[in-house]
Symmetry: none
Subunit: 194 residues, 4 copies
DNA sequence: TATGAATGAGGATTCATTCAT
DNA sequence: TATGAATGAATCCTCATTCAT
């Protein structure tokens, strides 16, 4: 399995840094190879093409990202707690790895729609985690029972994504994780008074 | 004023269609010129460069987009009604012009961060409209008074944006406008039961 | 006759200044038109094409240049005096009009060989003036009688040209006209001692 | 060292021929690549850009040119002999390689002043060789001791350059090398009788 | 004569990918 | 496995010239 060889990981890690530092368009394969300490041609022993590097970066990093979140919510008892934990871990992980944050929130969006489809596939498990929390909330009667799961998922993910993107675009000048509780309250209670 | 000349509008409209059909990267200037029925060089009498076409597309279309929404909410009495109207018009306008929807939700995101900054500037007035609704809601006591306006704006915009993007990515197979009321209810009431 | 109309001269004079200031390649027809205070299209009522402007500039300016020299040497009695006068006037005229000097010594050399042929045709009368001085010098026994006129002409013109070019390239930091007598002495006496 | 690799020399030689045959402006990089038998992109592994090809052509060829002359004059005893040898070798080398002659006398002059500066730098060693002959001539009392070295150098170089240019422009219809002795005599003795 | 908006041909350069070693 | 020299496709923009007014 190629994914366990050291050079595979070297290249993935080099790619995250190179893309974050140089931006998507200025991240030539040769630059990634240099950062990874391998020859240009070696890249193609581990990845089909440049797009495959990007998708793999996302797969690897999002895999860990989601795993971390799944682990974090597993011992929470209520949907409410799980949602709060998900938000906190979502924010914390990106706050802790700002290279990755830049890549996921800005640089990877520059890829073409075809690549975006693949990226969405990688994102799917995360959306399923969100769905499961929604379902649990409804069944446990902490959430209303007339909720449209798809819409709710879009609200949750859209809100988190927009919040992180704003934070990255404003050059991470404030504490992202500190906003987790407020975001959670907002999603739970909505805007209305009562 | 160049913006009122017919060729300016021809080129803008051609650009929307060409970008929607071919994608951002495959939209050569020559292709846009051909679609617009002008010579390649003519483009440069109206636009500084290729990027300027894209920014201008966004300016023109978002200008109309926002104007439409401002007009629509102007005769609504409550923040609640205004928010619902904003959501409906946001969805309706993109549903009615799916070329534009594709461009704003997918293709334009491929632009580099520098261009994104310009696009964000164009988006600013829209965010201000959202802010004014939030403020009105708080002052009119329909919304809670401890809301963080920035977070609320991110929730509203993030939710709408994610909802439209999903609809575009799923090839517009369902009725976007029909979801407006549910999205509105979700934002107003949140997830919780009471 | 177009050449006597005011706009013809306006365009010629504008061209000299524009080429001297911007260099040959950056001297667009539109820039010359603007400087001359006419529309782009008007240029083509007076000149066949851009090359024709350049050739005409040279014709006009060299015509005056040569005329001035012919006038200056007409009342000199000896070939020696005539040669000295030619050198002085050659240097003086270019020193007095540094725009023209820049154009003739640097910018016009960038033209393609085909254009250079036309320019050489304009230069012909000047070379004939030099030839006539040589002939007079030989017949009057001030110059040796075994001189090859073509070579002598090349030496005289080559020396003057190289001297002016050097002066222009060194940004005209020294007095060109002051070198006339030394150059003359050099051409007359050569390098040898006796 | 790239300059010793075979492709470097292939490209240089191809460039000389392509420029001589097509002229400076019609010498596209792709044409040079084709003539050299390499891909367009390969050019850029050896040269920074198109201008760099031209400067390198001049460097390579002038390097050999000057070396040849320095070698030729090294065993001549007098300044007179050295000057004659320099003239003969100058003429001979360009007569023997008429592609190079066309490039140096006509095509390369079309370059813009910025490039001309670089070319002048390459020419500098040649001018120094001329200067050293002048100095030797003065010190050895074969040349007058009141000579202005700069002017003499300009006379010598200007005369040789103009002579070669004329020969090229007259399509090399006569024997250039045969004129070396006459040119030499002219420079040594000047025009005057005694 | 004069205008100036419109035309459209033309070329240097980058960089993902290959393949002989 | 690993290398890195070589490949070659692909595109934005300028500007001399035209022509309807």
């Amino acid at each position: 399995m190629k994914k366990n060889k050291p050079k595979y990981k070297q290249i993935i890690d080099a790619a995250v840094v190179v893309i974050a530092e140089n931006g998507y368009h200025a991240s030539q394969v040769s630059k990634i190879a240099k950062k990874a300490g391998v020859a240009d041609g070696t890249i193609y022993l581990y990845f089909k093409n440049k797009e495959d590097i990007l998708v793999s970066v996302f797969e690897e990093k999002m895999g860990q990202f989601i795993e971390e979140i799944e682990k974090g919510i597993s011992d929470k008892q209520t949907a409410n707690d799980k949602l709060l934990t998900l938000i906190m871990l979502h924010f914390r992980q990106l706050a802790d790895n700002h290279h990755l944050a830049t890549v996921t929130q800005l640089e990877l969006r520059q890829s073409d729609p075809q690549l975006r489809l693949k990226i969405n596939k990688v994102l799917k498990p995360y959306l399923l985690v969100i769905d499961s929390i929604i379902k649990e909330g409804i069944e446990g009667s902490s959430f209303r029972d007339n909720l449209n799961t798809q819409l709710v998922r879009q609200m949750i993910f859209g809100t988190l994504d927009e919040t992180v993107t704003n934070w990255v675009m404003k050059e991470r000048k404030y504490d992202l994780v500190a906003q987790a509780e407020d975001v959670h309250a907002l999603l739970i209670n909505g805007l209305s008074v009562s």
